[in-house]
Symmetry: D2
Subunit: 339 residues, 4 copies
């Protein structure tokens, strides 16, 4: 930590800061500049909070942290990439893995049609919402446990492992009975009670980035899971909220590259929520592959126009097949330079 | 709803949209412009989701809603302002109410010192965190039930009703035994499981706006509470996340004026989180009063520099007393125009 | 400057950084922590750019500036507030000054009607656009020099000094002949060629904050003016761009308090552009007064519904009179605490 | 245009709106819903501004435009893609074109070393700043005309056409003598005086997206150029400003796909400014190629650590060569599905 003193801070104020640094278990180094003084607190294992609180001390302008606050998710701690095994499907390894399926499970027919379609096009996992977070209380809230049973049936038929969202600590046990991968939705990224509950579960977790979370906050949310005992975490970038309104969110592909640089965890992209526009999904899927993502999560509905949620951003089976073909065969590449 | 067809949409596509509108229980009105056609769906009580899903139909550019999606929180439904009674203290009425206290309950001494200080300066409610949402799992997470008991003791001594945050459905019953006003934190504004649980509780709710929530999403979160049976909701603006980094958040005072225009619910401001800088809190408190807020929530700590959380944005007792005096006596006003 | 070395940086890399710091004319202080090493560069008058470029050196994680990059606009350099005199009207002193008038000058009748109305209600300066920045090339672009002559006529009649926007270096001389205060629009805040031209003009400047500019960038834009020779600068907060769409911009009142804390320059607010909604303007005007702004700029049109630009956010004369009365007499204040 | 009346608007207010619509040269269609009334204004060639101003009329909630405000840049007007010829190099056609070079021209040696390096690695155009927009007046502002002469020399030697930024209308003529492609910087995207001057120039224009401009505003800025007579416009996405601070900007790749869907103009990406972190540039370059961009603009400096500007985001020659090789040979693709 660097404690940056205000311009004109008194000797007494500087001495006070030094005393707090020592009392907190760190070694103080004082550097008197021409305009201001800084105190560096060196060491580890001290009382970090006492240092941060110095921001409130007289004469202190700012306390700047110079080390990352996360540990277990960091590449510094574990340099080789983590591969998460979801009922036999490895995510984070050689293979680029596509998860697909409807936003919400709406009926047996709808789900099975979707499951067959995404399986035949090359998807490796099936997604489907049973409990849906909806902005309005008057919107469709999901079929609940009935949806879980249908997902299990679709898995039995297609062999695709299933992923579904957990919205509440109360649902963790029930959903864990059915699902192979438990999703934390973007709005719950900092639902710490939920994270603590999922840290104790014997299932891998898909952790979506919150719409206004920085990459570091996202990694710290993952740190809750690892620190609580669950090492099987997959990160999912699904777009952040910006001033741009012609796309539902702004898919932040640099965040994927950055998360993979800072952390060993696998990272996938969700271009369906990330753009909210069906026409843009194939191009952003290819871009996610190119940027180094480990996979995709894509909404596919047998008939998007009749979907009870997210129709405008859902692909139909034919659109999904085209997308998968494009991924396998890029349409334009740079010509190699002869020199 | 207005269904805006694409430039060049075919007659067949338009006919399809009209058929869906009718099937959904609305009356279609078709307007053929020089460049495009629009179909207006008139009526209420139809299947709104079927209309929204038209966004996925061929030839449709956009489906635009022209009515607000919220009902019970709306001024259209109830024009007179709601006054929420918190153990005898009315919020939303004539009086501008200040809630104050420490970010976290840290000890008996700290809490009682804070409670006495804010009471003597004019605060009407005492705040104090028992369960703390923290970005990092390694930060202080609150004293839990012990903090609840201390809050009750502080209430007994000072007579100030108490407000504390509920982070999880599992804690709702326990916290309701102690607290007079239950706070939903900004990161939980769209924790719908929590909102549903709080809708069934016999306590008023303080609902903070999420850092990236629009005013309409905030009102829809309140709608969950009212629709679920709890009419006693107070809204709290605590700053939104923007590109500006010199303040912790951007306190959106226009959102307070707008929320009060659209809704009958009381709205207060939290300039402590809204700015994150102690020096700015008094000015923003005065501004919140002037913009029409019904009250404030302010972090006060007997010794901010030793606070276990939010020290940099906490006032000390003397700072809080000055703030309260400023609120009672504006320092500069316009000179009235003689004409 | 603090040069924060990467975890695992080699001794050679650290030595290289130290050599660059010395070569750039600073004194290096090296602090070896348990996890990383930092090098502090102490001194002033050295080659700051050489230090910043170290961010590209091997083994360097980050270069952190610990002093503000602005000088002449800073409170550290000049602690007493600057009062800018605009043809006899002081801005930044005791009086809270309201500037009002139409978005665009549209005709002689329109401008004179607006000028008389705002004068009688208590405005001290008249605004009116002659050259208009418009998002679309097909929108009304202003009357140009004809508008300047009409503004001068309105000044002659009412005695109100006039303010109008300068969009291009080519127009600086012509507009300076007419206007008493030259406005730099938000989209031109970082039009450095324009700032350099205005630094050499014998007229005060009204510098609007860009819609995505931080407070520090805004102050640095003002620094261009002061460093170039023009000390008469008034800052104007007019809202920043955020994800919220129900207001045209998010009026950042904390930025006003912060700008006044960091700088000695006067700061006013523009709640017309800041909200874009006529109904919110009075409340935000009162809030701007309360937060410590030195004045307001408000759009007033004799008939907003016929305005050629910004009608939805323009007040009519009666609405403006009410706003001015409200400013002079706050509707609700805190009751003073007896203790 | 749709004029959406307020809940409870009176018959008189509705009649007034209808009268204005007719007077403005449009045909009104009135639809009375159960909750509100809307008036659709049909036709083209009427007085659009008069309709927009209705937002200020009594009883009107909102005026919604249902057609895009841009024309000449639209795919509706010209469906085949525009290929811009920059001194023999086509941009927007089959070839993916890379522009590279230093942020600023600093010296003859630096520029020629950079030019040779990027040429040999496969770049097709040379970039280099002569006049630099800098946030602080104390930073290096560019070598001006001397830099232009050096750029011309580098073109003579390497055969690479050159691109450089124009900051002011006053510089347009001089820079046009030297440069093959004139760049409008992000901060000048809405410098309308500059756009109008460049519309009359016989050189293609590279128009960067402003850091807080929507895709539609960006296209409208391009519309200024086309409407003013210059059809040779290349768009450049360089990142938008968001709350994320670990990247300098958020590179919005979906905006590239969207701009190409809405417009026939070529679009390139600038991952150097878009991320501000050297380590992320190769991955984002591949992603831009995959998303459908027509090319890249990349900062390359012979010795980034000694750069006078943008060192941290500049590649050295070896880093650039690797990036070019990666573009030609994607490292991981989806396995094609056998079915």
């Amino acid at each position: 930590m660097i404690i940056n003193m205000m311009y004109g801070a008194s000797d007494e104020q500087i001495a006070h800061v030094i005393a707090v640094v020592e009392h907190a278990g760190y070694q103080p180094h004082t550097i008197r500049g021409t305009e201001r003084t800084i105190v560096a607190a060196v060491g580890s294992g001290g009382n970090r909070i006492a240092l941060e609180a110095l921001q409130a001390a007289p004469g202190v302008e700012e306390v700047v942290a110079i080390t990352h606050p996360f540990k277990l998710v960091s590449r510094q701690v574990k340099s080789e990439p983590t591969v998460v095994n979801v009922r036999g499907v490895p995510i984070g390894g050689e293979e680029f893995v596509v998860i697909a399926g409807p936003c919400s499970v709406e009926s047996r027919e709808q789900l099975l049609a979707a499951a067959r379609a995404v399986k035949s096009a090359g998807a490796r996992l099936l997604r489907g919402g049973a409990y849906k977070p909806r902005t309005s209380p008057y919107d469709f809230q999901g079929l609940g446990e009935e949806a879980l049973r249908l997902l299990a049936e679709a898995r039995d038929e297609t062999g695709l492992p299933i992923v579904t969202e957990v919205m509440s600590t109360e649902d963790v046990a029930r959903i864990s009975e059915y699902a192979d991968l438990l999703q934390v939705g973007a709005r719950n990224m900092q639902n710490f009670a939920l994270l603590r509950a999922l840290a104790r579960v014997d299932r891998p977790i898909l952790l979506k980035r919150g719409p206004s979370a920085t990459v570091k906050e996202w990694l710290l949310a993952a740190e809750y899971l690892l620190a609580g005992g669950n090492p099987n975490v997959i990160l999912c970038e699904r777009g952040i909220r910006t001033f741009e309104t012609d796309t539902r969110n702004t898919l932040d592909l640099a965040a994927i590259a950055l998360a993979k640089e800072l952390s060993h965890l696998p990272v996938i992209a969700d271009p369906s929520h990330g753009t909210g526009r069906r026409s843009l999904i194939p191009a952003l899927s290819s871009a996610a592959l190119a940027v180094g993502a480990d996979g995709l999560m894509i909404e596919v509905h047998p008939c998007p126009e009749r979907a009870l949620s997210d129709g405008p951003q859902s692909l139909d089976p034919e659109g999904f097949r085209k997308l998968m073909r494009n991924l396998a065969m890029p349409s334009r590449t740079m010509k190699p330079v002869s020199a």
